[in-house]
């Protein structure tokens, strides 16, 4: 039972993390290869505060705030770059993050932070909390999707020059996506730190960034349900099969490639196609 709870909690955290990238990459069309840095920022912020005795739930706010603040800065810095350059810039962010954390004594340096206190409400409580967080963030993203913000995101994701000519203040919308997305990653990070209770710079590197991007793309860029499915499934796999864990980068790399090559619209697109075919028959 305990093990299942751990697996389920990990899945919930992965879903939250993927949903947060989905706002930036899926909704707004801004590719990020460094999203794990924001998971890390949330994890470190929350871990250090809770070691000082701050209750987990309270640490959520600074964890999200810190991630969103850095997300805003990265967003401002990347406003002028597009596509490939944006990918490279965001990749830089995750290397910068791990590089800086490694050198900081107060952040535990290479070793990381151990002995993060277990939340008072136990494993099941942490799972329930994670689920609630996923649910809250899910509702937020559904709301965004249906609002005029989501409508404007659609146009920015497709062609920002045209979006501009329709009167859309593209930079503001992009920054909004960065803030909401990185705040979500920060929240996932806070949960993650208390799930594993030991964090180090290597937990938030390039591989983790690629993994979460794979979840968003395999799920079908922008599709909330596809991304949830993909994140739940892809995060469960390595927990059950050690092999996949060992070859994570290879597996996710292949998945990414396969999804882009053979099913550019992801699980969501495939399902819709199947449903449509059924409907025709």
């Amino acid at each position: 039972m305990a093990y299942e709870i751990v697996v389920l909690t990990n899945m919930a955290i992965a879903v939250l993390f993927a949903l947060s990238l989905n706002v930036i990459t899926g909704f707004c069309g801004q590719v990020s290869l460094g999203h794990a840095a924001f998971l890390g920022i949330g994890a470190y912020t929350s871990a250090m505060l809770s070691k000082e005795g701050v209750p987990l739930i309270i640490t959520f706010i600074p964890a999200m705030g810190m991630a969103a603040l850095i997300g805003l800065i990265v967003g401002v810095a990347s406003l002028r770059v597009r596509h490939d350059f944006l990918a490279i810039t965001t990749m830089g962010v995750v290397f910068l993050f791990t590089g800086i954390v490694r050198k900081q004594e107060i952040l535990g340096g290479e070793i990381g932070i151990a002995g993060i206190p277990a939340p008072d409400f136990g494993r099941v409580g942490l799972f329930a909390t994670s689920l609630l967080c996923v649910l809250a963030y899910l509702l937020l993203t559904i709301w965004i999707r249906r609002s005029w913000t989501g409508f404007a995101f659609d146009s920015i994701a497709e062609d920002e020059d045209t979006a501009r000519l329709l009167g859309i203040n593209v930079p503001k919308f992009k920054l909004f996506a960065f803030v909401v997305g990185t705040a979500g990653a920060g929240l996932a990070g806070a949960l993650y730190a208390h799930q594993v209770r030991f964090i180090g710079p290597d937990s938030f590197g390039f591989v983790e960034s690629i993994s979460v991007l794979a979840m968003v793309i395999v799920g079908g860029i922008g599709s909330i349900w596809g991304v949830i499915l993909a994140a739940a499934f892809l995060s469960a796999l390595p927990q059950f099969f050690q092999v996949i864990d060992d070859y994570k980068l290879l597996v996710y790399g292949l998945l990414l490639f396969g999804a882009m090559r053979f099913a550019p619209e992801g699980i969501d697109g495939l399902l819709k196609k199947i449903v449509r075919r059924r409907a025709v028959k």
């Binding site: 709301w143 965004i144 249906r146 609002s147 005029w148 913000t149 409508f151 404007a152 659609d154 146009s155 497709e158 062609d159 020059d161 045209t162 501009r164 000519l165 329709l166 009167g167 859309i168 203040n169 593209v170 503001k172 919308f173 909004f176």
Partner: protein
Amino acid sequence: MIAKRLQIKNVSVKFGGLSALEDVSFEVDDNQLIGFIGPNGAGKTTLMRVIMGMVNPLSGSVLLNGRNITNLTSVQRIHAGVALGQQIVKPLRQMSLLDNVALASGGKKLLSPMRALLVQKRHKERELARELLIQVGLGDHSEKLPSELPLGYLKRLEVARALALRPSLLLLDEPLAGLSKPEAEQMADLIYNLPRVGLSVILIEHNLPQVQRICPILYVQSNGRQLAFGLTKDVMADPAVRQAYLGVGA
């Protein structure tokens, strides 16, 4: 002095060594429809892009209703009342024609994601979009995706979308290109009527018969310079215009 709807003062644009606009000045009055003609490469599109803030001029200024907008972004200019229907159509291909137009009519919501977040309804904008699509003759195609339609339809979408921005100054870059003769006639009629509802329009067109039919005033540009500006019949009789533009000896 009463402010004109649009004033362009001494605008010059260079692309590398090429001088696309050389010291261009001209004015558009309130509720005026101006035909803007000139040979290929004359710098017509470039001038529209300068007015929209998509190209930065080397020198010169652009005034809208007396307000200097030279340093505003494209988005700020749109919300100040300028709209452009582009020569090369740029539909959003992932959404229906209706949504293309509805999005453009979002007004101030499009300036702030926080404000946009508070609104879920698209009903009013869709109604307006439906009306505009009917006006440009696309009423039967509003639910279609742009990829399902030929160029002539997308040109009309471009016009509907620009109108959805509720501009006071509308720039139309060859809106009749790719339209059949009756379609062009219908679109020209629509453009002809815009000044009656308060718009000033600059119409770039190679379709001279339609331009002569609907535009009381013509502005002619060649090689980035003004060649003629005045009443249509005077301009068309101008030997320099006939020589440069029509290739007809004077």
